[in-house]
């Protein structure tokens, strides 16, 4: 039986007959291969562009959704807080009323004085005064500087020594403590008003020593006990005072939460403007409620890059007139592209010339910088180098009859009248029109959301584009590439203005470094082409950018 691999002389001769044999295929085969390769690359590229488009669209939707949720939460929280304040105020009023009722006969709650000696006859008056105080507090919302704080602390220490008050406040929470104490004062005043009958009829005030005692930093002991100083009536016994304080304390325990949120309109009210004649009542403090982080006015600079899709958005406004002009010409009788014009010495085959342009890709990179101009608003700008590519196709080319150089016919090359050229039609081929320019964007942004290291900014603005040049090339390399510099030879304007909208998701990597992810959309505010061209172009770009920023201290 013959083995499979047992090859005889016959097979050996046939195998050797083709060793080293070479035979070339036809000349045009490489062009077909090249065309197929370009097509495959184009398919890959288009898939990539579609992928980026989806990512960019998803990012915009996500950003808008996140922004919407953040806004909803902010608004919702404000509403809840307002309701809570109203409820707490009512509860506090109710507590005070109950206290008044329980102490009726001892106290005269109807006519009292508020903390600055104003007479308050009814609750309505109290409300009016509170509103007035709120107005004043607006003008007093500045945080005390270090010197003021030191002075205040010194004064407080004096009071502490005088009163023997132990105030368990954290020195670091000085401002909050001041605000809290003020709110407490407001509540105390209302309560003390109810006890004016048996006390001195004087208003209450916060004991300044309730804050910032260096040796007292235990915030856990929020239930501070008040010491009441009786100034006018020295005969009043300490036991009465203690009893009153205990009563007040019990009453306040019922309305502690209410007091905590009672009215932060007094947050920045400076307690040291108050009179010395005070009754200080300690109440729980909720530092978190009053902690308002003020972002510093930050300046940043960074690098960014973006990619996306570019749509030249071309319209033939002069099509009819131009077509009529061509049809009237004895040379050109069947030119389909109205954007092209030819000189009299141009030979044109009597076939339809068809040139189109469609979406392509966009790439940009550059520097950006910005500044936070308020807690929510930012201003940002930069400078970028951008490449925007429009794809297209054509079935014609121009051939110089002297040099035989073959070039692409394209609207952006304007009128062909500098040389004697013949216009020939051919199979449709793909071309690319690449714009190079420097872009200077300026945008205002609003910080929709900021939590931990993550933030969301929506922004809009304008961008000034300075065109450097555009290059027309066919993808198969059959024709000579041509670059047209911005200026008189170019049908495109050198300066163009675009509207910009975008979102920016920022993530703080380290103290000074921020990573940003920025989908954006831009559209030309006017035609990118000069007024004497027969077509208008208002390019649109959807971009998807990344950046790294450095925040200066």
């Amino acid at each position: 039986m013959e083995e499979f691999n047992d090859k005889g002389k016959f097979e050996k001769e046939w195998s050797e007959a083709f060793e080293g044999a070479e035979l070339g295929p036809s000349q045009g085969l490489w062009d077909k291969i090249e065309s197929s390769l370009a097509q495959e690359e184009s398919v890959v590229y288009k898939k990539r562009v579609v992928y980026y488009k989806w990512i960019a669209a998803a990012s915009v939707i996500f950003a808008l959704f996140a922004g919407g949720v953040a806004l909803f939460q902010i608004n919702n929280n404000n509403g809840v807080e307002q309701i809570a304040r109203q409820q707490n105020t009512k509860e506090a009023d109710q507590s005070v009323t109950e206290l008044n009722e329980s102490q009726e006969g001892q106290f005269s709650p109807q006519v009292t004085e508020d903390i600055r000696g104003r007479r308050v006859e009814t609750k309505q008056d109290q409300t009016l005064l509170a509103a007035e105080d709120a107005e004043k507090s607006n003008s007093l919302t500045q945080i005390p500087n270090e010197t003021q704080i030191e002075e205040q602390n010194t004064e407080k220490e004096k009071d502490t020594n005088r009163n023997g008050v132990v105030a368990p406040f954290d020195a670091d929470n000085n401002r909050n403590a001041i605000a809290d104490a003020t709110s407490i004062t407001h509540a105390n005043s209302a309560v003390n008003e109810s006890s004016n009958g048996s006390l001195t009829g004087k208003t209450s005030d916060i004991d300044k020593s309730s804050e910032n005692n260096g040796s007292q930093t235990d915030l856990a002991a929020y239930d501070a006990i008040a010491l009441v100083e009786e100034k006018d009536d020295q005969n009043r016994k300490a036991s009465e005072t203690n009893a009153l304080s205990t009563g007040v304390k019990e009453s306040y325990n019922n309305s502690i939460a209410a007091v905590g949120l009672l009215d932060n309109r007094y947050e920045a009210l400076n307690p040291y403007e108050l009179e010395d004649d005070v009754y200080m009542v300690g109440v729980p403090i909720y530092p978190a409620i009053f902690t308002v982080e003020r972002s510093p006015r930050q300046l940043w600079a960074g690098l960014n890059m973006a990619t996306g899709s570019f749509n030249p958005n071309i319209n033939d406004v002069g099509a009819t007139a131009a077509a009529a002009e061509f049809n009237a010409s004895p040379v050109v009788s069947n030119l389909a592209d109205p954007r092209m014009s030819f000189s009299e010495n141009t030979d044109v085959e009597e076939q339809a010339v068809n040139s189109t342009e469609r979406s392509g890709s966009s790439y940009a990179f550059g520097l950006n910088f910005g500044k936070q101009i308020s807690s929510k608003w930012v201003l940002k700008g930069g400078v970028q180098y951008a490449l925007q590519q429009a794809e297209g196709s054509s079935n014609a080319f121009a051939q110089n009859q002297v040099t035989n150089e073959r070039t692409i016919i394209h609207p952006s090359k304007g009128t062909l009248k500098n040389a004697r050229v013949s216009i020939n039609t051919t199979d449709s081929y793909d071309l690319e029109n690449t714009f190079e320019f420097v872009s200077i964007p300026l945008q205002a942004g609003y910080m929709v959301f900021e939590k931990n290291n993550l933030g969301l900014v929506v922004s809009s603005g304008v961008s000034t584009d300075i065109l450097l040049q555009n290059t027309i090339a066919d993808t198969e390399g059959q024709f000579v590439d041509e670059s047209i510099r911005a200026g008189t030879d170019s049908p495109y304007k050198q300066f163009n203005f675009n509207g910009l909208v975008g979102t920016e998701i920022v993530y703080r990597l380290k103290k000074n470094y921020v990573f940003s992810f920025e989908p954006s959309y831009r559209i030309s505010l006017n035609s990118f082409t000069k007024s004497d061209t027969d077509f208008i172009s208002r390019p649109r770009t959807l971009q998807f950018g990344f950046g790294l920023k450095y925040i200066f201290d």
Binding site: E2, K9, E11, E34, E40
Partner: protein
């Protein structure tokens, strides 16, 4: 002229000039293979075109286990087989256990130009042509061929026997074959 390594690197990067040089260098060698598996020039060019597109797409995966030319030829053969598969119908002929090698000791094709031999191969029926190429020229055995084409070993053998017989007839008509006489 760039070295083979530089050419390959250029092709992987998508450099069109490198790809063209690569094509110019290997296409003549590979085109012969394509012609052996096809009936005419156009068909061979279609196979060659598809082959080079695959080569450029997969060149980054070439590990250098074999000669680059061998790797490209293998791609050309696979492309040709795929191309012919639709029209390839191999008759399940009678199993052939013994193919006699009559007069083969003195058999020579030295009097023939490869183009004449190529023409004879192209005149073979499609099934015989493919199996003859795979067995006699590429050097596969019948078991490998049966696996490649999804046919029985016997079918491969019988198709080859038929191809051999037909070729001998053609060679006999040409009167150039030397059987013991030069």
């Amino acid at each position: 002229m760039l070295s083979e390594k530089e050419l390959v690197e250029g092709c992987i990067k998508g450099n069109r000039n490198a790809q063209r040089d690569f094509y110019e260098y290997y296409s003549k060698k590979v085109f012969i293979t394509c012609l052996r598996y096809s009936k005419c020039q156009d068909e061979a060019e279609d196979i060659l075109q598809e082959c080079f597109i695959k080569v450029f797409k997969n060149l980054k995966n070439f590990r250098g286990d074999s000669k680059l030319e061998t790797w490209i030829k293998r791609i050309a053969i696979n492309t040709a087989l795929n191309y012919q598969r639709s029209k390839l119908y191999l008759f399940p002929m009678v199993d052939v256990e013994h193919v006699k090698n009559e007069f083969e000791e003195d058999f020579t094709l030295s009097n023939y130009h490869f183009k004449e031999l190529l023409k004879m191969i192209q005149e073979l029926p499609s099934g015989c042509q493919v199996i003859f190429n795979l067995y006699a020229i590429e050097g596969y055995n019948h078991k490998e061929i049966s696996e490649m084409l999804g046919v029985s070993v016997g079918t491969s053998k019988s198709q080859y026997a038929r191809a051999k017989s037909l070729l001998k007839e053609m060679l006999g008509e040409e009167q150039k074959v030397s059987y013991g006489r030069v």
